[in-house]
């Protein structure tokens, strides 16, 4: 098998894409970094304090503590996805993706540049939401390694999915359809606010088809040590999705679908 060796110049190109991406979302921080902080504060106040105080314990912890990992994961998923979807689509729309296409940047590095850009925003919003959460609840970490591993992999997965969405998008509407009609329902039904054990058996089985459920539960396991799903299954599923989406995204970029005539 022929192995491609990438030179130092390819890594400089990767660094440049990353710098451009990070500069972009910091430039518009009011649209990108502030909203998760405000939205999640509202979640903590309403679901955590007001309603949560009447719910009682969940899996041996307060309701507020129970929903915190899911809420952090929700903002990581949304921000990783939307960062790449909107950035790559804007680059297509304004045609500045041509800056990359005319340059000798390997396809893999264009893909990694955008995905790492999305992951970086996902991580920053994750930290912001965690800091907000720490104002309402005393956070405990059961397993740091799982917390970091799951959040980075999930962020990578959704950042890659955002790129696939942007490649096919023909208008700005097309990059909001998936987050609104697919991502949001999957997240809300992905066990952020409840345990699937609370559902009738039929709906428990239906919920197992929701990939977000696995990510939220794996992340919750990292915090609280409790999960509706075996942690190995959750990590395997995330890796499976990353490999699948990454292959699709690479193929689309290499073929120039949606970006070359």
């Amino acid at each position: 098998m022929k192995t491609k060796v990438y030179n130092k110049q390819a890594f400089i190109a990767l660094q440049s894409i990353l710098v451009k991406e990070i500069t972009r979302y910091f430039r518009i921080w009011i649209q990108t970094l502030l909203p998760p902080a405000i939205t999640m504060t509202l979640y903590f106040v309403i679901f955590g304090q007001l309603i949560g105080s009447r719910v009682g314990l969940m899996e041996g912890v307060s309701y507020m503590e129970y929903i915190t990992p899911g809420i952090i994961m929700m903002s990581v998923i949304t921000n990783s996805y939307s960062n790449v979807a909107s950035s790559f689509y804007s680059a297509k729309f304004q045609r500045n993706v041509e800056e990359l296409l005319v340059a000798p940047v390997p396809t893999l590095f264009i893909l990694l540049g955008y995905v790492f850009g999305g992951v970086s925003r996902g991580m920053i919003t994750g930290v912001i939401v965690t800091l907000v959460a720490s104002q309402f609840v005393e956070l405990q970490i059961n397993n740091w390694a799982i917390v970091c591993f799951v959040v980075i992999l999930t962020s990578m997965m959704f950042a890659t999915a955002g790129l696939v969405n942007a490649v096919f998008a023909k208008s700005f509407d097309d990059i909001s359809i998936i987050p609104t009609f697919v991502l949001t329902p999957l997240t809300y039904l992905g066990g952020v606010f409840y345990s699937i054990k609370m559902l009738p058996e039929f709906w428990q089985n239906v919920s197992l088809a929701n990939p977000v459920l696995y990510m939220v539960n794996a992340f919750r396991y990292g915090f609280l040590g409790v999960s509706d799903i075996p942690i190995e299954n959750a990590i395997a599923l995330i890796i499976f999705f990353i490999v699948g989406l990454f292959s699709i995204a690479y193929y689309l970029l290499a073929k120039g679908i949606g970006i070359r005539s």
Partner: protein
């Protein structure tokens, strides 16, 4: 011929809607050349440039840049090219410096070197005082210059400019001409497409005319202009007489009460024309070419190509 900067052979492009933009064009550009690629709108100029720069996937044929085939050694070919596209395609919200430094990064230029080059290039193009301004705040002329600056950041061996002076005022256009001439003198091969034929005539040594996806002419500017056997002049006169002079092979036409138009064959001395006018008591106040010489040839060549195209369609 010197080393080939660009070699294109039997290049074809058919878009997904069935439009045949390139019907098998072949031409070469020598290293150090300054060549104009001309043609009417939709002729295939931008498609050709798109294929060379890998923005457009070709249907058939081969393209190589300084010996690097875009099929086998695309990255090496890309390193040789700097592209100034027709439309503004930078992020409008980035600053001039960010745009050029990031572009250098895509070509593998380390950031500290890119920052040094950015200063040189932005100063050359008179944009240094705008380095921290967002691109959207620049005037049209500045945006055009920014695109040239961006294309030069990796020090390409060949610069391809797709209508670089469109919508730019005369003063800036002439400044850009001087800049491009100097760049060419320093060894950069330049391919220019433009609708300003005066620009092509002023700057370029060679010319390729493309129409309906085929090359209808590919020669030196000097050779092409030498084919023009009649020149038309417009004379502003103090008054137009009732009877115009008669001179063999020269045609006089009255345009209005103070303007005469004359067609003069190349071999005819203008002294004879003036003598004939003086004999009739006509005082010439000023004189100018009716149109750019290249423009006349361009129209002739592209009209001829359209006739051939129509005939071929009728035969089919």
């Amino acid at each position: 011929m010197k080393n080939k900067a660009i070699a294109i052979s039997d290049l074809k492009k058919t878009y997904s809607n069935g439009f045949e933009a390139l019907k098998g064009i072949s031409f070469e550009v020598a290293e150090g050349d300054f060549i104009a690629l001309l043609g009417p709108n939709g002729a295939g100029k931008s498609t050709t440039i798109g294929v060379i720069c890998s923005l457009v996937n070709k249907t058939a044929g081969s393209v190589s840049v300084f010996g690097h085939s875009i099929d086998q050694h695309l990255e090496a070919a890309k390193r040789c090219i700097g592209l100034v596209p027709q439309e503004f395609n930078f992020s409008q919200f980035e600053t001039c410096q960010q745009i050029v430094v990031n572009q250098a990064g895509y070509y593998g230029v380390p950031r500290h070197i890119a920052l040094e080059r950015a200063e040189v290039v932005l100063k050359q193009l008179d944009l240094w005082d705008k380095k921290d301004s967002q691109a959207r705040m620049l005037s049209g002329g500045m945006k055009r210059r920014l695109m040239i600056a961006r294309a030069l950041m990796h020090e390409p061996k060949i610069l391809i400019l797709d209508e670089p002076t469109a919508g730019v005022d005369i003063e800036i256009r002439r400044t850009m001409w001087t800049f491009l001439r100097e760049l060419n003198e320093q060894g950069t091969t330049i391919v220019l497409t433009t609708h300003y034929l005066e620009e092509a005539e002023q700057l370029c040594r060679n010319i390729a005319i493309i129409d309906h996806g085929t090359i209808v002419e590919n020669t030196s500017m000097k050779d092409l202009l030498s084919r023009l056997d009649i020149e038309t002049f417009i004379l502003d006169v103090d008054s137009v007489p009732n009877e115009l002079p008669k001179l063999e092979n020269v045609e006089y036409r009255i345009r209005d009460e103070s303007t005469i138009e004359i067609d003069v064959p190349k071999e005819k001395a203008l002294n004879q024309v003036f003598e004939s006018l003086t004999e009739k008591g006509i005082r010439v106040l000023s004189m100018r070419n009716k149109s750019n010489r290249l423009e006349e040839l361009f129209v002739q060549l592209t009209e001829r190509a359209q006739v051939v195209d129509r005939e071929q369609k009728n035969e089919n």
